[in-house]
Amino acid sequence: MIPIAFIFILIYGSLLFFALRHPLLARLAGRSIRRRIGQSLLVVAGLMVGTTAITGSLIGADSTEASSVLNTYRGWGMVDYLVTKPNNASFPSDLATSIAADRSLASVTDGIAPGIDQIASAADLDRRQSESGNVTLFGFDPVAQRRTFGAFILSDGRRTYLDDLQPGGVLLSHRLADHLDAHVGDILHVTAETHSPGPPVYLVVAGIALSEGPGAYQLGQAVYAPLATAQQILRTDEINVVRVSAVGGLEPAHSGFAALSAAVARLGTPGLQAHDSKANDVAQARKNVSFIKTFLVALSVLIMAAGAALVVNLISMLAEERRPQLGILRALGLKRRRLVLLSVIEGAVYSLAAAGIGMVAGIPIGRIVSARFAKAFSEFGGGNFDFRFTFSVKGSTLAQAFALGSVLTLGVVFATARRTSRMSIPAAIRNLPEPAREHRRGWLRKVLIGGAAAFGLVGVVLTKDFVRMAAGIALIAAVATLSRKRLPQRLHTTIVGLVLAGWALRSVYAVNPNANAGTFFPIFIVSLLSTVFALTIIAVANLRIAEWFFGLLGRAFSGLRAMLRPPLAYMARRGMRTGLTTGVFAIVLAMLQMFAVFSFIFRPNYAVAAQGNDVRLLATGSPTITLPPNVRNDVRRFTLIKTAGYVGSFRSPNSFGAGDRAFIPIFELTPDLAARPPLNIENKLKELSKPQAWLAAAGDPSAVAAAGTRGFDCPVDPVTGKAPTTGGSHVRASALVVIDFAAPGQCIELQGTNGPVILRVAGQQTFGVLDGMFAAPAVLASFLGLPKGSAAMLALAPGVNPRATARRIEAAMFGAGVDATPIKELLDQTYRANRSFFSVIDLLMRMGLVVGVLALGIVALRAIIERRHIIGVLRAIGYKRWQVMSGLMTEAATTTFIGVLVGMATGIMMGYIFYRQSDSKVPFGIDWPSILGAIGAVFVAVVVVTLGPAWRASRLPPAEAVRYTE
């Protein structure tokens, strides 16, 4: 924030100084702005795009972060710290009393309560519905609730501290109540692993808690019970958590964590540990959102690049229109640098106005972006999490966007003004074509080429990732410059373009798409821009092929040839302008095309994703599942998987969901299960095949050996996120696992019975069916006492309806809390979440399309201004009005077509690279309806924006147009 504010003040302050020192220039700039208000408004509208994109992205990121942090605070409520044993093990409730009695905590805590926190399943016996897998039983101490942690607010408006509930009465979170369709008074059965056998405990739904205060605790599907009732369900008199509230409300200013840790340590109870849970989760929430921030900023960079091309076109248009006037000023003695200053002073006014309006326009864009992200988050959680959206507009963000947008715009204005200020004064005064100019070869140019070549050679050999890619580009640029005169221009440009595109695509292929966002996005963005640039220069250099093609048509229709020759020649031989406009379209279309590929290849492949299974069963708290007799004949294959519910600390530098109280289902991966895995592996370590990844996670020695001697080395420390220093040793994992919430190669750290357990991801299973971690029995042994459960995958006989079967199973087994879901529904849910996520990109890129369409409108206007005389001559020698109009529209349509082609080619190539990296079993393809819809809309918009200028051009009176003075 500070550097950009400083740069803004420095630049605009200097300009103000110069404007005051040169009042003539300031007056001329002011008159130019006021003279044609319509044109000035058009320029401002064009220049505002960049700021709108930045503002939208930054506000989207701010709001996503604010929402994420808000939900974290909501989820913890008044609870700041937890005291637990590893693996959620239980301990005597006296320990909570002992902690509360510690005098050192009196001034820093205002509530210490014993509690229960246990994964369970819930069945509503009246509604015959059950939920499993994501249900938690929370036991709260009513006394502490009343004293510190607050009241539950019920859906009927009542408030309760749980002390007024009837025996067996519990509250449901409104998410769980929705899923069970539960009503107050329903009989409920909660299944969780119990410490001793006994008859089932039947409960009564005493109320449905709103997501406020303690009713929002952990934001999921929850049963909130008085502590005694929770202990009754688990048949224990122990607890497994002590919840501590720090002095200072929801966001305590002073951390009492150190004092609490010391107090817990003084108890001397083995394994008992304090966790700074709320603060850690808030920090993790902010960290998770940094990915979103990087992602949105990366997208806005693309739109800014497109916007920069638009700015160049706009400023060039102004310069062309005023060329005779500027030529006269030069003739009268205005130096070239003063001419640039004149343009920049005018541009500064435009850029400030554009930044102001763009910033305001970006606010609703940011709101839409963040709301869509919130929707995607909610859908990724399968609707289990009560994710609340908040819209955040910070003054500092707006100031940052304003400063950044205006400074970048002014930078482009300056560069363009420098270019357009180079003029032959006599030619400019008479508005004659600029004579050809000899390029001078100065020492600076030699130094730059030499520097680029040296950096390129060293960088390509010695560095990696972004620096290596940049070095390669510098090397290509240096070689291209040096070899320019040695080859015919068209051949030279084509070769340079091919080499550049090849290098850019190779750079993306080389980077791990699961690398952290800071590494991946810069490479991706520069690679995409480089590929677009490379393909654009190839297309523009070879536009004569289009001329040749139309020439072939012209053999039969020479009138057509005559009509198309001028526009095609303008395109082919004004490469810079054509390239800028096609580039705008190409950047945006490349992104849209790439996501059309993603949209296609992320479609669920039902047969492969779940290895032919049709229904998933989950039963938390039940170590086994026995199918009811009435469905057994319909089941072709039944795969039972033992599960354990891990709740506790989870550390991983790049994973969502990391935190102090993460819930991770662990699926026991036996050698038999690994040999016939229940899910497809989407991503894996390069060293392993898919079957080997499963076997390695099951502990098979030969598969483990195939992972290599470094197969257990963590690329970065899972806690600190730091890579080992040169020569330093890697953190080593104790086992390989298959997981769906972290990328292959990454390490995660969980809290085992005897300390931290570090695991490395060998493969990533299909998301959304059995979410969690597949690990060998030996790994599970590190987590003693985890609550047991079970899952099952059913492959049905041909012709059996999965949905009907799932209903029959639930109806028969709801009492045991068995949740049965057709796998197709689970995969569709994930796909919907993916599409929600992509819709953000789609939204931003469609904003980019607007830039492209505007750019074409500007190009059409430029064409009229610049070619006024030529149009007059063409009309004089026999071009009819419709031919002039058709020619200009053909030019716009062809420019768009090339942009679309380049964009589609780039998008398909990029999409294919990601497809190859993803190991997806879905055949490669493109979501044609979405991309063709966008392209169709573009062409319609192009016709609309160019129709007016083309019509105006065709109506130019030839006698007036051929006059050489304005």
Partner: protein, 227 residues
């Protein structure tokens, strides 16, 4: 005598705020194969007359016959087609398409009237040779001198053998040497039977033609054969 251009009672009024009568009942005949210079001070109406005679501008009164065809009765579309078939133009600012080579510029009128591409190219090269620029056929205008550009423009005006060539200050942007070269070209073409009507400020150039028409305040002040 065979008239290629015949104007009778031509009146042209511009309505830009105040009404300006640019041509006041002008009568004029140009014989086939004649080269005529129209001279006069700025604002006298000479360019307006040329524009009206060539059909670039419509007239308010009178009639204009080109080779017997009344332009005033034609629609804009028909007038445009007629120009494409029967007229050639040379302007002061050369007005070549900067993105086309010399030969490509020259062949445009032929393509416009539907002549085959190969034939058009051959004819364009032939015409460039006629103006002495066959070696510069592949050059774009920015690689040509002003005089060369104007000779290319002359070639473009001639390539489809028009009934009449209209030239509006064709040497206005040229140095003395180029002016002479272009004028020699006009005279050579005229000697070959090409009708040319030229507007110029330069009395010396006007004197080289067969006939000079002097204009003042929208009227023909004098119309006399040159010695």
């Amino acid at each position: 005598m065979d008239q290629i251009v015949r104007a009778v009672g031509v009146r042209k009024v511009y309505h830009s705020g105040t009404e300006v009568e640019a041509l006041r009942k002008v009568d004029l005949d140009v014989a086939r194969g004649e080269i005529v210079a129209i001279v006069g001070p700025s604002g006298s109406g000479k360019t307006t007359l040329l524009n009206c005679l060539s059909g670039l501008e419509s007239i308010d009164e009178g009639e204009i016959l080109i080779d017997g065809t009344n332009l005033a009765e034609m629609s804009d579309n028909d007038r445009t087609s007629y120009r494409a078939q029967n007229m050639g133009f040379v302007f002061q600012a050369f007005n070549l398409l900067p993105v086309l080579t010399a030969v490509e510029n020259v062949e445009i009128p032929l393509l416009l009237v539907g002549r085959p591409a190969k034939e058009s190219r051959a004819k364009a090269l032939e015409t460039l040779a006629l103006v002495g620029l066959e070696q510069r056929a592949a050059h774009t205008p920015d690689r040509l001198s002003g005089g060369e550009q104007q000779r290319v423009a002359v070639a473009r005006a001639l390539v489809h053998s028009p009934a009449v060539v209209w030239a509006d200050e064709p040497t206005g942007n040229l140095d003395t040497e180029s002016t002479q070269s272009v004028m020699d070209l006009f005279l050579k073409l005229n000697a070959g039977g090409q009708s040319i009507v030229m507007v110029t400020h330069n009395p010396a150039l006007a004197a080289m033609t067969r006939r000079t028409i002097k204009m003042r305040d929208g009227r023909i002040e004098s119309d006399a054969a040159n010695a």
